[in-house]
């Protein structure tokens, strides 16, 4: 991602702390936060409330990336999953600290704070969420 630091900086509340929002009309939770609720549309405008999500959920589907983008080449093979968060929204994230054969649909996971990308060895470092197996 060579687009400049502002683009990353803007998303820090989401990437570090799972700040999403909730429609005041239908109570649906969104992550990342949305300007309006796609179900309630105009009724939701000005009625979206910020909430912090717990960063816990379950694997809905996954893949193991063997051919990765340049920034991720050192990590291949690495699992990527769609995770359904406890509050409802689904997100895409990497699974770490987990043997590949233990990544399964239904696996309970929790977030961990990691480096996601960096602008080479001289540029900014972008941190955010990845997921690991939930601690029993």
């Amino acid at each position: 991602m060579k687009a400049g630091v502002a683009r990353f900086w803007r998303e820090i509340p989401q990437r570090y702390n799972f700040i999403g929002n909730k429609c005041g009309t239908c109570e649906r939770v969104f992550f990342p936060p949305r300007e309006s609720c796609p179900y309630c549309r105009r009724k939701s405008i000005g009625n979206m409330k910020e909430i912090k999500l717990a960063g816990k959920g379950e694997v809905v589907t996954y893949t193991v990336i063997h051919v990765g983008p340049e920034d991720f080449e050192e990590q291949t093979p690495y699992p990527i999953a769609i995770i359904k968060l406890e509050e409802g929204p689904q997100i895409t994230a990497q699974i770490v600290d987990c043997p590949l054969d233990e990544v399964k649909i239904g696996l309970k996971v929790e977030s961990t704070f990691r480096k996601i990308q960096q602008d080479g060895h001289t540029g900014a470092i972008y941190y955010g969420y990845k997921f690991k197996k939930q601690r029993q």
Binding site: V96, P99, K115
Partner: protein
């Protein structure tokens, strides 16, 4: 439990947490690469294996995981934290603080004092002293002191068997204190035993000069001064923690000071995870707090090359029984959760292969 003979304010540790990357490499695997006798080296250093950070871990991520663990164990609201000091010699940026990343990641910003510390392996304990002072001065209610490193060693250097990754975080305050800090002091001189110049990737060191005039002199003097100030002797302590660059130095210095191996072993993690530099003494302290009971007295002396030692005399309070210690992994659990890597993977993970 009443703390007889104490008149100082009850300022101390409110909660604690740690993080150790789960990858390990055995000393003998490293030795084999360089044609050395691994078992002899392991015996000599008192290190069997060391932790290895994955490519997506650095001092910032380890610090965040450690302080998040500390926050899980207590009920503190992150916005009540008034200061964060992160001690490390491997801050991800040369210029740009690690502490702001940590502050943002735990929701403690923006009414927050932050600075990064560097004092070789004792930057984290220096951060504890700073937080202690700020709380005592009434400037903050709670301060966070973190010691964390993803320490680097040049391939083939003696340090390669020990330099590892990990960190611990301590919340310092005056409410719900689980271990009071009764006394703290430092012993500091200008002693260039180990250093890393600004543009260099790996540290340099004075070989055997790092021992007697550096590590042993500073720890011994600091520890002696502390016991004099506190009016204590080694037998008064349940646990003693010394900086642990290898498995031998802390045991030798403990014996020299009159401590027994039983007092030292709970806080001696280096044989299993290597030297986590700024995290080393602090992970030792976290390991002690994992098992400590009310009334236990803890002695800790860190050491940072350059050089200096920070000494702490602490007493565990009844509050430790109310801390939800089980809500975050203990040091023993972090040590046990591991996956071994070979030297090639280690080289990739620790960026030894970067040539641009």
């Amino acid at each position: 439990m009443p703390l007889v003979g104490f008149t100082m304010e009850q300022i101390g540790i409110v909660s604690y947490g740690a993080h150790i990357p789960r990858y390990r490499i055995k000393a003998e695997v490293i030795a084999a690469v360089w044609g050395k006798d691994g078992q002899a080296i392991s015996r000599g250093l008192g290190i069997f294996e060391k932790s290895v950070p994955s490519v997506d871990q650095d001092t910032a991520t380890i610090s965040v995981e450690a302080i998040r663990a500390a926050l899980k164990r207590c009920t503190l609201n992150p916005t009540d934290i008034g200061a964060i000091y992160v001690g490390s010699e491997s801050h991800p940026y040369a210029v740009k603080p690690t502490g702001t990343i940590v502050g943002e990641a735990i929701g403690a910003t923006p009414d927050l004092m932050v600075a990064d510390y560097e004092f070789a392996c004792k930057a984290g304990t220096a951060a504890i002293q700073t937080c202690f002072g700020l709380v005592k001065a009434g400037m903050i209610d709670y301060g966070v002191a973190i010691g964390a490193d993803t320490s680097q060693a040049a391939p083939g250097d003696a340090l390669e068997y020990s330099a590892s990754a990990g960190g611990a975080a301590f919340i310092i305050g005056r409410t719900n204190v689980i271990a009071t800090i009764n006394h703290t002091l430092s012993y500091t001189t200008d002693t260039p035993d180990f250093w890393r110049r600004a543009e260099m990737k790996y540290p340099s060191h004075g070989g055997r000069f790092t021992g007697e005039p550096a590590y042993f002199k500073h720890i011994t003097n600091c520890a002696t001064n502390l016991m004099t100030k506190a009016g204590t002797k080694p037998q008064d302590y349940t646990y003693a923690i010394f900086h642990q660059p290898n498995g031998k130095f802390p045991v030798n210095v403990a014996k020299k000071l009159g401590f027994t191996i039983d007092q030292v072993k709970q806080g001696l993690m280096v044989p299993y995870i290597g030297n986590t530099y700024s995290g080393a003494s602090m992970i030792g302290l976290a390991s002690v707090l994992d098992v400590a009971k009310p009334g236990d007295r803890i002695f800790m002396t860190s050491y940072g090359s350059g050089a200096g030692s920070d000494g702490f005399d602490m007493t565990v309070t009844n509050n430790i029984t109310r801390l939800s210690r089980q809500k975050a992994p203990t040091i023993a659990q972090l040590v046990a959760d591991k996956e071994y890597v070979d030297y090639g993977t280690y080289a990739k993970m620790t960026n030894l292969l970067f040539w641009e």
